[in-house]
Symmetry: C4
Subunit: 211 residues, 4 copies
């Protein structure tokens, strides 16, 4: 083994460490969402109850984004638990996914603060939907790479199994794409659809005793 | 085993990984609390000591929320250490609990900044109390699900033991519920009661040598 | 074993899990410090270089607090690696320590933004020094409890060894206490002393090959 | 073994724990970057799409800094996986590296918000480049220390291998240094170069099957 090869060997990545870093980013992104739920800098005396109620879009987008990232973490964990090792390309694709996940708090804040502004609600909804679509693309990138590289996987997991799971992942991608035109009809519906997609990804996985 | 079943098997969750993600959210939520302790954007020269003292409600709500989340983490850890595995429903219930925990910094900030405003202190206290009640419901959801699913637990833990712990959990739930009317009498008392409930949940667990 | 006892047994804490949660709080507190380094909301065109230089107190307090928390983490890790288990009282004392650690970003921000304000620099320095003193008390609380409870420690660590380390911990406590009057003479010196104490706690531990 | 020596033995650091703390700081620093992507506090009705597009420099600096920190994490992980233990000097050098990494969100925000301001873009670019250079110095400090202390490394890793990797690390350092004059020509090019250096550090490590 040449010196550079030995060095590369040293830089081999265990799936456990990549998961730990990813878990950190998922957990932080989800917890930072609350920083965007904020009262106006000053409210009239006695106006607090109204101001708190008026924030309902921020609560709704908080919940939709929290569930989306949280449940994607669940599936990310499920995917990586099938891996025996991680190569540099997969690490790079995973980093791109994390970069989009960590971006989610910004469009969440934008949608929460503009969904009641008639002139801007649609733009905020489109921005949010595009971000969710990028999240789906990011997850698909990781998924497809794992499906195509059996040498990274723990034994006993056939490529065919992975391919048969493809349609499941397509559901979310298509739903997020459909949210873009939906934002022209009703921005609040976008929030509902995103939350529904999140819940779908928990419960679609419950059918058998193998669970 | 069919392909979907094998895939579901791959998505089986270990309690260790769910705990690690939960630990992250608890630790971040608790540390973000400090971001809501802030000086007014400008103070007159020489007015800093008064401004720092004037922030006492923010310090008090910081402590009450920190202890509440920190000690709930302790009990969350205790509960999950009894588990052998986690299914999707439990993961979902846990995610809902984390969603409420991560929300706590917002009502904490609202209470800290309005407890001295006569017209709004009660509303802030009620909002804080309702959030704490939701936290208690979130924890109860996880607890009851674990109590009802012996197949998820490590061996040696009988359902009867879990059920007998029910009253302990009820104490906090009732105390938080009582904080809602208490907020009409005295919002600062709400902070005290919440902190006292947190401390109660540490020390009620110390009686025997089994500890 | 009665039902409550078995439950208590289940709630036994491993030092590993408490360390993991503590690590999270230390790592987050240290990373949040940067959020308090901020430019004035608007600067004149071309004034950016001056504005960046003008922030030197924020850089200095950032470094002092980062090193203090980072090196306290080092010693916290060293202390907990001697433990075989953690009881509820120790968990509570540790939580109080973490509560003070997580508070540090606030006085750091206050000192960074007021150290150049003649009328308020001393007050900011005193506030920062008191916080550091509380951090030292928090660490001492954990340390003394561990020293007095040999049953929590891994075998081979005698109480006498712990007691002989007492003076080391006293150095920091006394230095932080001395910072309070020092803030009346020179607030920037407070920052230097705090940074020096941090560095002291790394390098005092290097003498022997046992390291 | 004297009492102080036994105590020092207790304070021995495992590379695993130092990695865990470092992972936390890397993951948090990378996720905090999004907090600096912010809309102006108020926009005219209907102006949201323009405002979102106008933020492109913030998106670009977000991506460049995210990739830089994320890929440095990858290499940090690779480096520490070669270690059997960590001494206090290495812990200190690592803490200095983390202190610079955690600082990155600030110059990232400054560059994102000033790259379109003709009078200040160069200063912002220089500030960002200097920070990246400090990051490179921080990583080099850790790397050189590990290269010079074979007793810290896991068996089978020769010093010659480490030394032969030196030029790889020099590439980034020189590129960041070149960004300082580049900021006088074109601040946006600085962002591109920084992102390119990050990607270089992923893919330069892929040549052999040992990966």
């Amino acid at each position: 083994m040449s010196a550079p090869e030995r060095l590369h060997g040293a830089f081999r990545l265990t799936s456990g460490r990549v998961e730990a870093f990813s878990d950190g980013v998922f957990a932080i992104a989800v917890t930072l969402l609350i920083l965007n739920v904020q009262l106006p800098s000053s409210t009239a005396p006695g106006a607090l109850p109204a101001a708190l109620l008026h924030l309902w879009p921020s609560y709704a987008t908080y919940a939709a984004s929290f569930l989306t990232i949280g449940i994607m973490w669940l599936n990310h964990h499920g995917l990586f638990s099938r891996l025996a090792r991680v190569d540099r390309w997969l690490a790079m694709l995973n980093l791109v996914l994390l970069m989009v996940i960590a971006f989610v708090p910004f469009p969440t804040a934008v949608l929460g603060s503009h969904i009641q502004a008639p002139a801007d609600a649609t733009a905020a909804g489109v921005f949010y939907s595009i971000t969710m679509l990028l999240v789906a693309f990011g997850f698909s990138g990781v998924f497809v790479y794992v499906a195509r590289h059996p040498e990274l996987r723990a034994h006993g997991y056939a490529t065919a199994d992975f391919m048969s799971a493809g349609p499941w992942f397509l559901v979310g991608t298509l739903a997020y794409a459909a949210c873009i035109p939906l934002a022209y009809l009703s921005p609040p519906l976008v929030v509902l659809v995103v939350a529904a997609v999140a819940v779908y990804y928990v419960f679609d996985r419950l059918p058998g005793p193998a669970q």
